[in-house]
Structures are given as structure tokens and as C-alpha cells.
């Protein structure tokens, strides 16, 4: 009996000693609690785990390695409080209500995708938490005029205008379109129709398809028969790849082949092979050549996640949003009203260039078009931000 007590107290003493040693100086400052919900399971996962959550993790790690997040000059460690939203809008909304309403975290980071952001945007406003959304495209979201909500990506109007300008400048006369049947597809479709007016480019066919589609070849075959100069797809990652593979399969190879979410992913060149991806256009806005900061971010991301590259569109915007948030907290601490005002009224310097908000919309980043060239997704339009020259005639699928 007595020996066991001795042993126990010895263990306790050791543990206490170890605990004292293990407490680093920075942990004495209370952590900054940053909450978010993101898809780790379900249909949104493919996008969320490429464009968004890895960036949150990298950001927290980098800040903590540098001694913590600077809160008005005081370094405090970041504590991430995160939940799986299971790709469900209701779960997402409930989680943010919990994070902001009962957990009362210091800051929140947004969920993935237009639909989820659309659902949580009003909450952000009600609770007064600034949201810098990296993956939301919606004109309607901007029209809601929510003062705490900021959208980092270029919106449908500038993106489709850039696309149409590029097509027009390179002599395209006709286009065929497919778009996914949800908020993202519908808004881009509407914006494209406006952008096409007076451009001299006719839409020879437009068809919608449901999310999760497994076969687009009947549509692509009929498009091939009409022989348009350009193919435009407002698509999500699995459909982007499906449309590309099936275009190759049916021998549909227009001069301009444009698809949307997922073209900027490393996955695209892995699945299509770099030679197969050559000349494919898509939604992208930066790469490692865009700025020194972009290169440093690209390298740090690739290193931390074992060779997994950030995508060349939303990931860059996500990181830019985290840069803005970091600067805001350094300047104004955790006063969320002050952070909101700072975000709304400042021209921010980020890895993807200047960002400035008019209402909720980022109006400083121009609409862009990117293209796969030799295994890199190069920004090719407009020329002011291009990292390479456009190849105006896509080579045959390989």
C-alpha cells in the first residue's frame, strides 16, 4: 500500500513537473478562438478540402509558429474550433449559430460554396461577425447589402465579361453552353447572356444539367455537330472533369474549351494528364508567378500538405482574405465592428494584388480567364494580370 502511494505521488510530481516545462511563454496569453464549419464529408468536400480548409490550417500554423496572431501588438495563439458541416446547409447554419451565439468565438471563417454562404450571410450580419468569403459567387448575395459580408472572388458579371471579351478579341463567332442547375450555374448563365449582348457571338445551344450528372455525352455530341468556336461550361469539379473527358471521347475539340470550378485544381492536370489539359481554359486568377507572396504561399502550402498544391483560383482569394483579416486584427484587435470598417474602407495589398470592396463585392480584382499550358494554369486574360500569352487555338485532346 505504502509503496503504491509513493509511486503514485512520484508519478504526480513528475507529471506536474513536465506540465510546467511544457507550458511555453506564448500560451500564457489567452488564445484567439477562431470558429468555422466546413465540409469534410458529403458532396462539397472536393471543393472545400482543396480551396478552403487547408488554407485555414496553414494560416493558423504559420501564425502560431511566429509566436501567435498579433492582436493590436500582443501575440496570442490561434485556437481553431472547427466542425464538419456534412455538406448540409442546415448543419452549416446551426453550427454558425452555435459558434457565434453560444460559443461566442472571437472570429469566424466562412464555409465553402455559394449555397452555404448564402445561408449563413444573414447570420453573420445578425451576430456582427465579419465574414470574408473565399468561395461564393452570387449577385443576389451582393444585392442583399449585408455590411458584415465580403466576397473575395470575382463575381459572375466580371468573370463572364472577361471571357466574352477574350473570345471576341480572338475572333470567336459562336459558342455552346452547359451549366449546372443551381445558384452558381444559373447566375453565371444570366451574366453570360448579358455579356454576350452586342458581342457578335451567338449561342448555338445552351443546356442545363443536374449536379452529380454521370453522362454528358449526348449533349456534347449534339454540340459537336453544331461546330461552335467555343464551348463554355459553368460546371463543378466532377462535371468539369466529366465534360472534358467526354469531349475528348466524342472528339469535340472547339478552338476555345472553357469550364469552371475545378479547372484550376491540381486534380485536373492529374486526371487529364498535363498533355491532355493543354489549352483548356477555365476560371482561374493567379498562380505562383503572380507575386512573390503568391510564390511563398504556393510553396508553403505544397510543403505542408505533402505535394498538394493550392488551386489557382479560390485558394489564392482565400489566402488573401486571411491576409486581410490578419492585418485588421493587428490594427484593431478583436473589435469586430472596427475590423468590419477596416475591411470595408481600405485598399488591401494581397498575394493576388489589390483588393477593395464596394459594398460586399471585391471590385479591385478584374475578371480573369486562365489556361493550362505545359502543366501550369496560366492567367491569360486580361493582359494586365496575365502570367502568359493566350494560345487562341486549343490543340487536339491527348
Amino acid at each position: 500500500m505504502s509503496t503504491s502511494v509513493t509511486r503514485r505521488s512520484a508519478v504526480q510530481a513528475l507529471a506536474a513537473g513536465a506540465a510546467t516545462l511544457a507550458v511555453p511563454a506564448l500560451a500564457q496569453a489567452a488564445p484567439v478562438r477562431v470558429g468555422y464549419a466546413i465540409a469534410r464529408t458529403g458532396t462539397w468536400t472536393g471543393g472545400a478540402q482543396v480551396s478552403q480548409e487547408p488554407n485555414y490550417l496553414l494560416w493558423a500554423e504559420q501564425q502560431n509558429q511566429a509566436g501567435g496572431l498579433s492582436v493590436k501588438g500582443t501575440k496570442r495563439p490561434i485556437e481553431l474550433i472547427s466542425y464538419d458541416d456534412r455538406s448540409e446547409v442546415e448543419t452549416c447554419v446551426r453550427t454558425y449559430e452555435k459558434l457565434m451565439g453560444s460559443d461566442k468565438v472571437d472570429l469566424v471563417l466562412p464555409p465553402w460554396g455559394s449555397n452555404a454562404n448564402f445561408a449563413v450571410a444573414p447570420l453573420a450580419n445578425r451576430f456582427g461577425y465579419p465574414f470574408l468569403a473565399p468561395t461564393a459567387l452570387s449577385k443576389r448575395l451582393i444585392e442583399m447589402k449585408l455590411p458584415y459580408f465580403f466576397l473575395l472572388l470575382q463575381q459572375p458579371a466580371p468573370m463572364t465579361t472577361a471571357l466574352v471579351e477574350m473570345l471576341k478579341a480572338n475572333g470567336a463567332k459562336s459558342a455552346a453552353l452547359i451549366y449546372v442547375d443551381d445558384l452558381f450555374g444559373l447566375e453565371n448563365y444570366a451574366a453570360l447572356k448579358v455579356a454576350l449582348q452586342g458581342s457578335g457571338i451567338s449561342l448555338v445551344e445552351d443546356k442545363s444539367y443536374p449536379p452529380g450528372v454521370k453522362d454528358l455525352s449526348p449533349v456534347l455530341r449534339s454540340m459537336k455537330d453544331k461546330n461552335p468556336d467555343a464551348f463554355i461550361g459553368f460546371t463543378y469539379p466532377p462535371d468539369t472533369i466529366l465534360a472534358s473527358k467526354q469531349a475528348k471521347e466524342v472528339g469535340f475539340n472547339p478552338k476555345f474549351f472553357y469550364a469552371s470550378v475545378g479547372t484550376a485544381f491540381q486534380l485536373y492536370k492529374n486526371v487529364m494528364t498535363p498533355a491532355g489539359a493543354e489549352g483548356v481554359l477555365g476560371m482561374g486568377s493567379w498562380n505562383a508567378k503572380t507575386s512573390a507572396g503568391a510564390k511563398a504561399y504556393f510553396d508553403a502550402h505544397t510543403k505542408k500538405f505533402g505535394g498538394k498544391e493550392p488551386d489557382r483560383w479560390a485558394s489564392g482569394h482565400c489566402w488573401a482574405g486571411l491576409e486581410i483579416l490578419t492585418a485588421a486584427v493587428a490594427k484593431h484587435g478583436l473589435d469586430r465592428k472596427a475590423i468590419r470598417d477596416y475591411v470595408a474602407n481600405t485598399t488591401h495589398e494581397t498575394i493576388i494584388g489589390k483588393i477593395r470592396f464596394d459594398g460586399s463585392e471585391n471590385v479591385a480584382t478584374p475578371g480573369t480567364v486562365s489556361q493550362w499550358q505545359n502543366g501550369e494554369f496560366e492567367v491569360v486574360w486580361p493582359k494586365t494580370v496575365a502570367t502568359a500569352a493566350l494560345n487562341p487555338a486549343k490543340p487536339a485532346w491527348k
Partner: protein, 291 residues
Amino acid sequence: MSAGAWLELIASGLITGGIYALVALGLNLQYGLMRILNIAHGEFLMVGAYLTWMAQTSFGLHPLAMVPVSFALLMALGLVVHRLCFKRLAATSPDLDVFEARGLMVAFGLMFLVQNAVSWIWGGDLRGYDFATAPVHIGNAQFAGNKLIVFALALLFALALIVLLRQTLYGKGVRALMQSPVGAQLVGIDTERLHPLMFGLGLGLSGVAGCLLSMAYTISPAMGEPYTVTALIVITLGGFGSMSGALAGGLLLGVIEALGMHFSNPSLKALLSYSVFIAVLLLRPKGLFAK
């Protein structure tokens, strides 16, 4: 439309339909023969797809070499799952209806378990690889090589299963089991062995389907569920327990969808599939091909 275009359209429908049939076969064995409504069928298919993807990208194995491997691995997994779950359920359930209800609950649990295990092991990213995507010309039409391989193998497996059930003593035993479990036992059919074996075979087939699908599509942990739903439609079309019905039902659904998509809009695909489904349930509730 030219004759060549019609050929292409119908053939692309048949190819998709062949995939539907293959996915439905395994579930049909489990539900049609054994009344195990394995809602997790698509999840096991997803495991087969991930195994193939991993073997291809990490070890450079040829995807076709993974067809027998994923069949064997998933079959073994099926035997284990049967022993752990369904054997006990069969022993403790008072009648077949209770067994079916309890089995459904267990299958739901398996669905979450498998999906989360795969997310945990491989992460939630979309995955895929390039395999035989070069187009193959047949007459005036052209198709992706991988789709033709998938179609050929789907047909092969479906026919093999049909022959197995029709022509062999084993098959007769299985059909007897389906008609009357007690009667089958009375005439000396070893249901204790046949039950797990058929469940394992069903899972093995889902593994093959997953392996084949990974050659043509991107894969993710959430990919399984839509296939389970399609499989349920197909086996309802073809009649529960009828393998040739599942094959014909799958092909039919593929062709209807392809034609519908061409002449209307892909967004109406779900409407079409479910219209066919409801019409069959109303007009021929035992399946299109029931005798």
C-alpha cells in the same frame, strides 16, 4: 439525325446502362435473394474504387489487374460483415419482415461507418486517374476506350452470374433459398454456408463495379449514394432477384436517359428515371420482366 448519330446515342446509353446493371447486380443478390436491403451498397462500391485508385497511383498497378483483387477483398469484407452483423440478425429476428427492417438499420449504420472510414484514411478530395481515355472508332461512331472496357466487363459479370445461378447446383440452391428458406433447409441445402457466400458475392460485385467506375469517373467518399439509388430503381425495373431482369433494366434505363437527355435536357434526367420507376411500380409492380 443520321444513322451514325443514332447509333452513337443508343450505344452511349447502353454503355451507361451496362454500368447501372453491374451496380445493381450485387444489390439484387443481397436484396432480391436474401432480403438484406443493403443501403451501404454504394459505399462498398466506393471502397472498390478507392482501392483501385490507390493501387494505380501509389503502386503503379494496372487498373484491370485490380478487378479480381477488389472482388476478392470486398468478398472477404462481405464475409466478415455478414458474420458480425447479418448472421446474428438472422438468428435473433422472429420473422423475415423484422429481419428486413433490422437489416436496413444495420446497413444505414454501415453506410456512415464506411464513408467516414474512407474520408479518414484518404481524405475528402476528389480523386481520379487517366486510363484508356483515347477514343476508339467503331464505324462512324467513337467511344472512350475505358467505357468500352467497363461495358464489356459489366456484361461479362452479369452473364457469368446469370449462368452461375441458372446452370449450377449452387445456383439452384440459391434459387431454392429464395423461394423458400425453410424448404431449402429441409431438402438439405446448406443455408448456413450459402447465405454468407451470397452476401460476400454481392459485395465482391460492388467492388468490381467500383473498380470499373474509377477508370471512367472521378471518385470521392460521397460517390456511393446515387449509385445505390440507381441500383434500387434498376432492380425494381427488372424484378427483385432476377439477374437477367437487372441487366435488361439497367440497359433500358441507360438508353431512356440518353435519349431523354438528347431530345430534352439533362436536367430532366431525374424526372425521366423516376417517371419510368413510378410507371413500372404502378403497371408492373413485380418488374418489367416478371413471369
